[in-house]
């Protein structure tokens, strides 16, 4: 097992070549997937991937279970929707506004709650996620409640409007790339080492001089900021948002995707998201209740048999 990244890596290391191949594969996917519905699913998967990559910084690195990621996603979605509908701010400004608002809320919640022991933090994020859903439903003057916000304008680059699904997929892929590069840099920095130390032993991390409170807030805030990006992407993709998307159940699904793909890894969140988003969609058409039961079952099986998720399995096979 490798906890800390190696400092010396050849420029074209195996993992780097692997990531480039995966990325090329992701770029070529829309050529294979021609069905309109599946292209829609492709974009949703990519947006979920942004969410899970963000979640992984709190869950996989700081080692804190965060059940409010969908709530922060919602904050981001409403922020950018309101910015464009009410103030005429274009998507690019909306993304920044969404990130700032989500991050600010995370800081506000994280500052007091991250002083508490891990399980209290889980409960607080759980309750906060539910409170957010209630707010989305009831802050009528901002969110229009269950009616939602329709007519969110599409993303524009100059005079070109991204209306079709394939270019929107590439836009999301571009953000995945940005977030991945950011996460990679983060993990290889001092901050990343501090987070891993906190995950591996918080009391010890504290006693060797790591300000654990500060770094946990950092991780949580960054996770939320990334959820904000996903929120803006989601709002401008569907052009309509309503409170039913940003629920606790969604947070739970993101958590499952992260664990099954592999928490605390680069590729894990993407693998987990891809598998489970597609699975959830197929299973839901079959029976929504069954889909939920299957998610729970996957979660339990993953925790019992492969706590490090699919990436953990891959590593095991490699090291054999």
């Amino acid at each position: 097992m490798k906890l800390l990244p190696d400092s010396k890596q050849p420029f074209l290391s195996k993992t780097r070549i692997f990531s480039i191949i995966i990325f090329l594969f992701a770029i070529l996917l829309p050529l294979v997937i021609v069905d309109d519905y599946f292209r829609y699913l492709l974009v949703i998967t990519a947006i979920n991937a942004v969410l899970v990559i963000g979640l992984d910084i709190t869950l996989g690195y700081a080692g804190r279970i965060n059940l409010a990621q969908a709530g922060f996603w919602g904050i981001g979605a409403y922020a950018s929707a309101v910015a464009s509908l009410n103030w005429g701010i274009p998507f690019w400004g909306g993304v920044v506004f969404a990130m700032i608002l989500s991050a600010a809320m995370a800081f506000f919640i994280g500052y007091p709650s991250l002083k508490l022991a891990g399980h209290y933090f889980v409960i607080i994020t759980f309750v906060f996620g539910i409170i957010l859903t209630i707010l989305f439903n009831n802050l009528l003057s901002i969110t229009r409640g269950p009616m939602g916000l329709p007519g969110i304008p599409p993303v524009a680059i100059g005079h070109y409007q991204i209306i079709n699904r394939v270019p929107y997929y590439y836009l999301t892929l571009f953000f995945i790339l940005l977030v991945m590069i950011f996460k990679y840099k983060l993990i290889n920095s001092r901050l990343g080492r501090a987070l891993i130390a906190i995950r591996e032993g918080e009391a010890l991390a504290e006693s060797i001089g790591i300000n654990t409170h500060k770094y946990k807030i950092f991780a949580f805030t960054i996770s939320a900021a990334i959820a904000g990006i996903a929120g803006a992407l989601y709002a401008h993709f569907l052009s309509y948002i309503g409170p039913s998307s940003f629920t606790f159940e969604q947070s739970m699904e993101l958590f499952t995707m992260n664990l099954i793909g592999g928490a605390g890894t680069m590729a894990g969140p993407i693998i987990g998201t891809a598998l489970l988003t597609v699975f959830a969609e197929v299973a839901r058409n079959f029976s929504p209740a069954l889909a939920r039961i299957a998610f729970g079952l996957f979660l339990v099986l993953a925790i019992i048999f492969t706590p490090k998720g699919i990436m953990g399995l891959i590593e095991k096979v490699r090291n054999r």
Binding site: L4, A194, A197, G201, L204, E206, S207, I208, G209
Partner: protein, 234 residues
């Protein structure tokens, strides 16, 4: 002025008083030991010095600076390192990674300190790429000391370093601690193995129920009837 001065601190865990009006000092270059039975409050004293738990009253002064309410990372930066009793390593990190974690707050000269630690404990160099959790008990203790030294402390605090080690390793450990002390490091040593602690220390404090009941030079303590009966087996 002493390097470390603790002036009548009391520490509580909720309503339970763990340390009661305790006063203690460590001079620069001294090796001071804190002796007491389980639950006497020794570990709590070290945790209070490290800033991991706040005393309800009293003050802790290090190098003339009041650190009573300082954050743990600031205290490490000032020059106090803590070698805790339990969970003293990151078992899933490599030996070298554990050492580097000890230097988390330092920016310069880390490589030099690492070399120095490898020269103190050559076995750590041999095993630098092994997981810390795979080391033997004695090696883990060495790694914990090495990790604490990586922050370049002026005062190093040990919490029961001999716990769980074979007798010959305990002796080796004691001579290592003495050696570090003779190189100028001030040491505050918490031990249950009184004989070994007395064999290397200058002064000692006897703790009972969170209170200092006796403090003197080790020579005097060894002669004390109460100490002989309670801690040295007659």
């Amino acid at each position: 002025m002493a390097l470390l001065e603790i002036k009548s601190i009391s520490v509580f865990y909720n309503k339970i008083k763990a340390v009661d009006n305790l006063t203690l000092f460590v001079e620069k270059g001294e090796l001071v030991t804190l002796i007491g039975a389980n639950g006497a409050g020794k570990t709590t004293v070290l945790r209070a010095i490290s800033g991991l738990i706040r005393p309800r009253n009293g003050s802790i002064i290090f190098k003339g600076i009041d650190i009573t309410r300082m954050r743990p990372d600031k205290i490490v930066q000032l020059g106090i390192a803590h070698c805790p009793e339990e969970r003293k390593l990151f078992p899933r990190m490599k030996v070298k990674e554990n050492l580097m974690m000890g230097a988390f707050l330092r920016k310069e000269g880390v490589g030099k300190t690492l070399e120095w630690i490898y020269s103190l404990f050559p076995v750590l160099k041999e095993r630098e790429n092994q997981l810390a959790g795979s080391l033997s008990g004695g090696e883990q203790q060495m790694l914990a000391i090495g990790r604490a030294l990586m922050s370049q402390p002026e005062l190093l605090m040990f919490d029961e370093p001999s716990l769980g080690l074979a007798p010959n390793l305990v002796k080796k450990l004691a001579s290592t601690i003495k050696n570090l002390n003779q190189q100028g490091l001030s040491v505050l040593l918490v031990e249950q193995n009184v004989e070994i602690a007395f064999s290397i220390s200058n002064r000692g404090y006897i703790l009972e129920n969170g209170k200092v009941v006796l403090s003197d030079s080790v020579e005097e303590l060894k002669e004390n009837d109460m100490v002989r009966k309670a801690y040295l087996g007659g």
